[in-house]
Amino acid sequence: MKLEFEMDTYKSEIKPTWCPGCGDFAVLKSLQMAMHALQLEPWNVLIVSGIGCSSNLPHFLSTYGFHAIHGRALPVAEGAKLANPDLNVIVTGGDGDGYGIGVGHFIHAMRRNFDITYLVMNNQIYGLTTGQASPTSEKGMKTKSTPIEGVIENPVDPISLALASGATYVARCFSGDVKGMADLVQKGIEHHGFALIDCMSPCVTYNKVNTYDFFRSRVYDLQKEGHDSKDMKAAFAKAIEWPFVQRDRIPLGLFYRTEDVPTYEDLEPALKKGPPVRQPLGIEDPDALLSEFL
């Protein structure tokens, strides 16, 4: 059967400006594959990003896009989703954007359980600003902003944070495995609720520690090891394995998923009339509204 949308339909005419070998290419490809597999209408997809190398991603796709300011992609996406819940809203960005400057919005977006898919290209470094420590940089890592002792703070663990904050789909993938990534992204888009997909996306220019080889020698597939993604306790146990317990084995795959939680859109009273963007403007019975002021 011929599909309505070819793989190339989802590509824009703009070529990525990322460094050769950047992990973000794999994320772009996997998102393209996921949209193709789901045959999403490009005009019904809105991709919102923040600022950072990875946040340039929506320019390279043929959907609607909004390239917001640093750290604020999630609230922009939430506003758009509430205005038009029929849109497939996807948010893309980096670890500095989402787990650093925007971490407040990250927590609140998850506890609301919006039907939004959030892809974080986590390279554990600030790339666009040429190599400062990020909130997920490993302890001890020397960067331009931590040149002497290395990072002395503990890293943020986005997986534990997502589980604790109410995300209903929590996964980690790696740019070294595009197929596995595309599969998790596709399921994340299909998921009815907030999906966090933490994409380990190596920065080949500024992070000489967490390289492709670093991950290749450490990653394993949660599902192949029989992890039950419906079990939140088991998900927490797997989440803290890396980087808190040890750094020899890094779990990839689906940590947790539940469809039992209603989304924000399911519960918002104003949406019962349908998407606000299609509602008539103005008031039918102003006298009823004014009567309380008499």
């Binding site: 019904n44 609607y64 390239h67 300011i69 939430e78 963007v277 102003p286």
Partner: protein, 505 residues
């Protein structure tokens, strides 16, 4: 409170007080003020031992002094306690009648000759009027973080909005409030946020984002006393500079300043049209005195014009669509996500007509230096249209006045009272030059109006004269006198009247 207000009571007035409590001091009150001492507490205790209703006894006294219809008092009690507590309604009616009877024993009514209409009137705050204006204009989204004195907008809309399809969302902070509003505006609904100065400070980066991406939205700034946390429950007009300068770089905006609840309604409704026609943020700047103060208003006309601006899908073809097309007006055709074939990306980096960035690798190349200049000029050209479509300054009062007050916002009310008092009492002819639009500035119209001004007094609720300086920057005109108030209190008409006498003496 006796100490605060006793000197305010004018000749022919009366002070009702409890003979067993704080009494007026003869040396501090004006002449011909009637003193009505009533044992308020003792009378209330005849109905209920806790004397809770002593205020109602005093209310009854006031009703009798003003010749008000007692039925209105009774219906007000029923409105408050309803049918649920009929015994409380009855007790309060009795208490009020005790107060009224006491006044009758002490000379009765003030005989002010007041006439009352039985026609119902609308009583509301500026913030409520603003909400009604937003609803009339078709607002569909409000995101807000609680902050006095803007919170009542959130409260009213949270209660009434959903029935009219308005998504009302209390969010984690003002950064989220503004960014969500940007997202909703981008997705195509009429979107609004509201806050006070502290919250607006947090919104500054995100409102500039709307300017850059050409996203329509309405931002309401209800000012309170600053700086910093300031006096949260007190008024000021100290955030004009903040509104004027919000955001890095230049981007087109309009700042509308309602003077009264009627304009809170009409200017907010107009703000939504301007936001969509010019695809940029419109700021409505109000203050605590106007926003939270009650006034009687005439019935609003909800049939406000609704103009949604240029949409690409209306007759345009998807092929070759450029969201940021360079045009004479600076306004480019807009497309909403979900519209087939018009996909584009809105970007906060500088971009070309199709939305592609010129900030990363192209910036600085000669061709793109030119692109940047053109795109920046395109956005800023929208100010010309905004200047045409925004309300002009107005001159209120007599022509050929000896003194012209220069003011904006809520100062309108006390200033008009002061002008009338000065004309009536001292025969000084005073008028006022008022600015419902603070930006873009109507330079020519203002200069024309200033030509006839003999002497001027700028009256503003801040220390530095933020508007006075704007006026001078835009027109070169420096008012002869400046009266700033920044103690947290609104202008009182008597203070402005005194100032008028001082500068015209």
């Amino acid at each position: 409170m006796m100490d605060v207000h006793q000197a305010d009571v004018i000749e022919g007035g009366a002070i009702v007080y409890d003979v067993d409590g704080i009494k007026p001091e003869p040396g501090k009150i004006r002449k011909n003020v009637r003193l009505i001492g009533i044992p308020l507490r003792k009378k209330a205790q005849t109905l209920s031992p806790n004397a809770l209703m002593r205020n109602t006894v005093a209310l009854g006294a006031a009703v009798q002094l003003f010749d008000l219809d007692f039925r209105h008092v009774e219906s007000a009690f029923r409105d408050i306690w309803g049918d649920k507590k009929p015994e409380i309604v009855q007790q309060n009616i009795q208490a009020a009648r005790l107060g009224a009877a006491a006044v009758d024993e002490m000379g009765g009514s003030l005989h002010l000759g007041l006439t009352y209409s039985n026609e119902p009137k609308y009583l509301m705050t500026g913030n409520e009027a603003l909400c009604l204006g937003a609803l009339a204009a078709g607002v569909k989204f409000l995101a807000q973080y609680p902050m006095t004195p803007a919170s009542s907008i959130l409260h009213w809309m949270a209660l009434h909005g959903p029935a009219h399809g308005v998504v009302v969302k209390q969010v984690e902070d003002e950064l989220a409030a503004m960014n969500m509003t940007v997202g909703a505006g981008f997705a195509g609904v009429r979107a609004m946020t509201a806050t006070s100065g502290g919250g607006f400070s947090l919104m500054v980066e995100a409102i500039g984002q709307a300017g850059m991406t050409e996203t329509p939205l309405v931002a309401v700034l209800v000012q309170r006393s600053g700086p910093s946390t300031g006096l949260p429950t007190k008024t000021e007009q100290g955030d004009l500079n903040l509104a004027l300068g919000a955001g890095q770089g230049d981007w087109p905006r309009a700042i509308l300043a309602p003077r009264n609840p009627e304009e809170c309604f009409s200017l907010t409704a107009q703000a939504f049209n301007l936001a969509e026609i010019y695809q940029t943020p419109i700021i409505v700047i109000s203050d605590l005195y106007l926003g939270e103060g009650y006034r009687t208003v005439e019935k609003f006309d909800f049939n406000v014009p609704i103009v949604r601006g240029m949409m690409a899908a209306d007759g345009g073809t998807a092929k070759g669509f450029r969201r940021y097309e360079i045009t004479d007006s600076g306004v480019s055709p807009r497309a909403l996500p979900g519209t087939k074939g018009f996909q584009f990306i809105g970007a906060t980096d500088e971009h070309m007509e199709n939305g592609e960035l010129i900030s990363d690798v192209l910036a600085g190349l000669p061709e793109y230096v030119e692109e940047r200049r053109k795109m920046h000029e395109k956005r800023m050209r929208k100010l010309d249209g905004l200047r045409k479509d925004t309300p002009r300054p107005e001159l209120w009062g007599s022509k050929n006045a000896d003194l012209t007050l220069i003011l904006w916002g809520s100062t309108w009310g006390p200033a008009h009272e002061a002008i009338l008092a000065a004309e009536e009492g001292q025969g000084v002819k005073v008028n006022s030059l008022e600015f419902p639009t603070l930006f873009p500035f109507h330079v020519e119209e203002t200069q024309q109006m200033l030509r006839g001004v003999k002497q001027s007094l700028a009256v503003e609720g801040n220390y530095t004269g933020q508007f006075t300086r704007l006026l001078r920057a835009e027109t070169g005109y420096k008012p002869d006198h400046f009266y700033g108030r920044y103690d947290g209190e609104p202008f009182a008409s008597r203070d402005i009247a005194e100032k008028i006498l001082e500068v015209t003496a």
